[in-house]
Symmetry: none
Subunit: 234 residues, 2 copies
DNA sequence: TTATCATTTAACCTTACATTAACAAAAATG
DNA sequence: CATTTTTGTTAATGTAAGGTTAAATGATAA
């Protein structure tokens, strides 16, 4: 069985450092795409699927955090590692908020980076639920296209979904007829599990119920204290 | 419904720092068990299940790495975070080798620690591999789905069960036709065995009997002073 | 900037749940 | 058989979770 190399998107504006890092990673059997700024980074990200993103925080035009947020909108799962020169606490916290998987202060040791990458890849490997890349669903008489973020009822004009609506419905669909734990949605979509995110989620459940009303066979049931269940009655 | 706090094993030999850290974590809604050295840490680890281990690296008798290796032998999944005073590269690499999930250099910012803990817990939450617990039972003409918390009689509309109803019936079903000791249910479900929890349990037995009435062959018998017995007559 | 859309927070209401009380009935005990 | 202990059952109470709508905040693009 041919083992496919892992693909890394490296976004680093310093040309010297970026090239050195790229070469070093490639020597260690990673496929690396090197973007020289945030804009380019996002373009490249959209064009391909990556196993990991390494983002410099300080970049002209578009900093690493902004880029991370954009990436997160497209893909909630891909691991992100930030590179930063200054070890500012605010930065670190900001990073975790956008869902960083790790954090490295420059200058860092390349072996350490390699270890971190390995650890992250391993983590992701265990998660491998078949859900990672399913984007289209039939839900009763509805069709959900989660990539283009729309929901269509029969042949009617599709309804556009907001990012949160979309992710939530997708997560429910992935667990169709089964329990979708509150905690799962909160950690995966909201990246934080507290009173307010929980209430926010309830608001989105209400929105989804409204969208799903046209088909009486489709409903979102609550399991008190546990989560929700998207059921399609036959 | 009482949300179960996450359990943290903190192994730190410095009594001042350890206590401060423990209190800080407890203030943030974690259940913390504080061990003062590696030996004690391993003892405590074996006695309970933890969601996270925070290990100081430099400790007398048994250092953090050795402890981590022992822990990994017992449990391949539990996240481990190391605390270390010196930012030695060798240490960091060694840490990752024994399967660390993260690394913190003392002195560190408590908010950063909290963020890291959150991030780690989130990762684990995603893994949600349905463990091999038994969740479905046939009880006479009833079907109990203990994961989705419903009880169905023949093909009729399922009845929703409350968490306590559900767990109690599940426990009875696991002991079908056999004695289910009062004490077992009280310690497992109510986590306390006293007059009031006992009366509460009786109330739930009454509720279950009502649910089970439709099938005359199914009944919950009392064994005076001992417990209950879910019997299915043929 | 304004206008627009997404998301969060607030407010208010309803439902779900667990506990406790109260009283009745069985079972055990001396 | 009288008394105590345990169990059966229903109802009342307090609290937490969820449902829903609207307003406030934030973010984005024209």
């Amino acid at each position: 069985m041919e083992e496919q190399n892992k693909k890394i998107l490296l976004v680093e504006d310093d040309p010297n450092f970026g090239t050195v890092l790229r070469d070093y990673l490639m020597m260690n059997d990673y496929d690396v795409v090197h973007a020289k700024n945030g804009m380019e980074g996002f373009e490249k990200f959209k064009k391909d699927d990556y196993d990991l993103c390494i983002l410099d925080v300080m970049m002209p035009y578009k900093d690493g955090f902004t880029l991370a947020k954009e990436i997160r909108e497209k893909n909630t799962d891909v691991p992100i590692v930030f590179l930063t020169a200054k070890a500012m606490k605010e930065d670190v916290l900001k990073g975790y908020k956008v869902g960083a998987d790790d954090y490295l202060n420059k200058p860092f040791d390349s072996e350490v980076l390699l270890m971190k990458i390995k650890a992250i890849m391993q983590r992701k490997a265990t998660e491998t639920i078949a859900d990672s890349k399913q984007f289209e669903f039939e839900i009763g008489r509805f069709h959900l296209n989660s990539k283009l973020r729309f929901l269509r009822f029969d042949d009617e004009e599709p309804v556009k979904l907001s990012p949160k609506e979309n992710e939530l419905l997708r997560l429910l669909a992935l667990h169709e007829n089964d329990l979708m734990p509150r905690e799962l949605a909160l950690t995966k979509i909201w990246r934080d599990d507290n009173y307010f995110t929980s209430r926010s989620m309830d608001v989105y459940i209400a929105k989804l119920r409204k969208y799903l009303k046209p088909d009486p066979k489709v409903e979102i049931l609550n399991i008190h204290g546990e989560g929700f269940r998207l059921v399609v009655n036959s």
